[in-house]
């Protein structure tokens, strides 16, 4: 199958405009007759649902949480990027586009990445108008700060709670449209399967998480906005409920999965302290604006950090990457931390961490300034660890974070199933092999608010004449029956091991072989191990309770069943890419200095996997760099 990215004609600056000029429009009276299902209500889902409803479409929005306000966009701390050039420091749309493309190690689509930068400035206008209390100067204008991988200040923020403030603005806009009866909201509802009729996405099967019953919903198009899948590692910075099931079901129904192995490991999370741990809390990358990362120069140094003199500290990021220093991009900062920890320089009780130190910043700017900038992050650190980071350095460690991979989408954000769209983190589009900090909130918002509402019409215009789908179609019967069989099977195993047991095992395999550093041998071994784990799960898992009630154990079980299969695909994807790029670091492919070695001649493509009865067929979208020549990515 030829993957048509549908990138429009023209220069980079004109592409989005040209697309909109040629796209089909729908008159307001007809929009009312068209219905859209949005699965997920985070920044991209809520933004899409609210905006599509404002345009006049009939919207149904689903989320597994008790309210749209819980979606994990809420947890993004540091900020959102926009090419406003308010700081007069040489920023522009083009520079932001280039930083993002380079940050992604030239493995994303030029046109999409440019559009992301192009739409960033109006997005800030939008959020300010929605009442987001961004940080301000005394004179009343907006403040910016820096983030990793760039040398300008283009990040807007609301203390360390930027994601929360953007999400709450979107949530408010969504509930405004619910109040206006333009959106029907279904909280505590989880998509269990996708319904495809005559090759087009026409509905979903949902499990009501309170009654446990399966329900059917039909629409003229389906939008997935279900976020990332890094909980495949079990320990991650994600919310416990985040899962990959909606993506996986869509994948099994024909949506290609792009670059599944491109997973970002965030350099500044709190280290793991025990096996029982359920979550790795993130400390915002913005801390690297003022905090300095170091380890002792001496191995197994057991002195307290304050007792280690300056000359015996190794500020390894500043040493290895003098021009970007502590603001090196995430993949590079994470790998550098792993390198030091593996070499025996790790600190903390389990020797699995590095220091993030604010001593110099406090001396330079004063305690009050640092409190003003990061107060809530320091408070959070204290609540979790019991340690005061104003007086002793933070202990930080890399943790699984963002999924650059996701469902393959074209320029219109449509997957390979007509009528099925993917927005926000759950698609693969703009970040390539590594995402820059503060581009995640941006992409989720831009997809939901600005792009999808201007592309979905191009598909729906042709659906006006078609009969609206109804839930008594045989495909709905079939999908519901399959979902029921799947759940029955899980409940009938009655084995001897808990769901969490299997999740811990999966997480260990994935973290060991498919995280910061990968090898051919390790990945081949991991695939076999996960296959064995899958057999064991389906023979020996134990889930108590019934289907027709609130049953959190059953929810965990069917999500994990999908994670196990996704884990196999992630390893398969990492195995086929005989190069290192961005977050994908294959030990066999590195420079003499230990940096990633890209192989553009062979691997300048997006891998897009087709599901084929338990096997995966590889398709390639070749990346054509029409405007930018890929270079060796250097932050030295």
């Amino acid at each position: 199958m030829h993957l048509n990215s549908k990138v429009p004609e023209g220069s980079l600056e004109k592409k989005w405009q040209n697309y909109q000029l040629k796209s089909q429009l729908i008159n307001p009276a007809n929009k009312k007759k068209l219905s859209v299902i949005v699965v997920g209500s985070g920044l991209s889902g809520a933004g899409a649902a609210a905006t599509l409803a404002e345009l006049g479409y009939d919207i149904k929005c689903f989320c597994y949480q008790d309210s749209a306000r819980r979606a994990h966009s809420v947890a993004a701390q540091g900020g959102i990027n926009a090419a406003k050039n308010y700081q007069h420091d040489g920023d522009s749309v083009y520079r932001m586009f280039y930083d993002t493309l380079k940050g992604g190690d030239f493995r994303s689509r030029e046109a999409n990445t440019y559009r992301l930068a192009e739409l960033s400035a109006p997005l800030i206008d939008h959020f300010v108008q929605q009442g987001v209390p961004f940080a301000r100067e005394y004179g009343g204008t907006l403040v910016n700060r820096s983030f990793g991988g760039v040398q300008v200040q283009r990040t807007f923020y609301a203390r360390g709670q930027t994601g929360q403030q953007l999400l709450l603005a979107s949530y408010s806009q969504l509930y405004k449209m619910i109040h206006a009866k333009k959106v029907q909201m279904f909280p505590r509802s989880e998509m269990i399967d996708l319904v495809v009729i005559n090759g087009k996405a026409k509905g979903i099967i949902v499990r009501n998480l309170v009654t446990g019953k399966l329900e059917r919903y039909a629409a003229d198009a389906v939008v997935l906005a279900t976020g990332g899948y890094s909980r495949v590692f079990r320990l991650s910075t994600l919310a416990i409920g985040c899962n990959g099931s909606a993506l996986w079901k869509a994948h099994k129904k024909g949506a290609f999965f792009a670059a599944p192995s491109f997973t970002q490991i965030h350099p500044t999370a709190l280290p793991q302290s025990s096996d029982a741990q359920s979550k790795l809390t993130l400390m915002s990358e913005s801390l690297r604006n003022d905090g300095r990362i170091w380890v002792p120069k001496q191995k197994e140094d057991s002195r307290k950090p304050k007792d280690i003199p300056e000359e015996e500290r190794d500020y390894y990021l500043e040493r290895r990457y003098p021009s970007f220093g502590n603001l090196a991009p995430r993949d590079i900062a994470s790998r550098a931390a792993k390198e030091r920890i593996d070499a025996g320089f790790g600190v903390g009780r389990l020797k699995n961490a590095v220091y993030l130190d604010f001593k110099h910043a406090i001396e330079k700017f004063g305690l009050e300034t640092i409190k003003d900038r990061y107060g809530n992050l320091f408070n959070m650190y204290k609540k979790i660890t019991g340690i005061d980071a104003y007086t002793t350095p933070m202990l930080i460690s890399p943790a699984a974070h963002f999924s650059m991979g996701g469902l393959w989408v074209d320029y219109e954000l449509m997957t390979t199933i007509p009528g099925l769209y993917a927005v926000g983190e759950c698609n693969f589009s703009d970040h390539g092999a590594n995402r820059l900090g503060a581009n995640s909130l941006l992409q989720a918002s831009v997809d939901g608010y600005f792009i999808l509402p201007n592309t979905i019409n191009n598909y729906l215009a042709d659906e006006i004449k078609a009969d609206s789908p109804t839930t008594d179609h045989p495909e709905f019967n079939k999908a519901e029956k399959e979902a029921q069989t799947h759940i029955d099977k899980i409940l009938s195993i009655n084995g001897t091991k808990t769901v969490d047991h299997f999740h811990r095992e999966l997480g260990k395999i994935m973290w060991q072989e498919c995280a910061m550093s990968r090898t051919k041998e390790g990945l081949e071994k991991a695939i076999e191990q996960i296959k064995t784990l899958k057999d064991d799960f389906w023979n020996d898992v134990k889930v108590t309770g019934n289907q027709n009630e609130m049953n959190t154990e059953l929810e965990k079980a069917y999500r994990l069943a999908d994670f196990i299969e996704l884990g196999i695909l992630m390893c398969t994807d990492a195995l086929q890419r005989d190069e290192s790029c961005g977050a994908h670091f294959r030990e066999e492919f590195q420079t003499d200095e230990g940096e990633a070695l890209r192989v553009d001649e062979t691997y300048s493509y997006v891998s897009a996997w087709e599901y084929n009865k338990g096997e995966f067929n590889l398709h390639k979208e070749h990346l054509e760099f029409e405007f930018v020549k890929p270079t060796v990515r250097s932050y030295k």
């Binding site: 309210s67 819980r70 994990h72 204008t141 907006l142 949530y171 979550k279 600005f450 808990t498």
Partner: protein, 247 residues
Amino acid sequence: MKVTFKIWRQENPNAKGDFKSYEVDGLTEDMSFLEALDQLNEELVLKDEKVIAYEYDCREGICGQCGVFIDGRAHGPHANITTCQLHMRSFEDGQTITVEPWRAKAFPIIKDLVVDRSAFDRIIESGAYISSKTGTAPEANSIPIPKEIADKAMDAAACIGCGACVASCKNSSAMLFTSAKINHLNSLPQGKAESSNRLNQMTYQMDLEGFGNCTNTGACEIECPEGISIKNIAEMNAAWMKQKLFG
């Protein structure tokens, strides 16, 4: 360490609930309170019993989905944190810990420790927004907002919607929640146009949902994970009075 959890179990909204005790051993001080409950649930599965239903999602204190009453206090023994941020080092070895759901008429119990907080969503949808459609915004720096005002709006906007304020109030009042949202939007220039309508609609909905009124005990601001001040309530009441007196 070893503790005994005395936990409220209730099959469904209509069933009669009761406390049940569970002994859990092998815990460590570094474990979070919810991780201790996770361990208990794993043990229950292996004993062929139904797991305890309790809520959580982000486990980093920001989503607001977790929240239970622990030994008579919302989110446990410390002020200004969420349940997911509570760690076992805050308890003694051998301690009995009583765990209950939020108790408020407007938050009916769904199962065990899970309550229905959709009343909060309905207060939000009655007016906690600025009516500007996507695509209609002016340039962001065209309306300067002095730092003090932006900071004050942010203080109020930090609410995570967990419901601890309602649960710890003897009147089950939602006035901290409602006033914080009103003040966040009404203090910003963008929110001014709809300020009086917002005040009326949101307080009307708050009463309709069956929440009580504030009698200034201050329990809410102590338990609020974001430490939102009850000054917000005073400000909301003042705005309301002003409107009644002067229109």
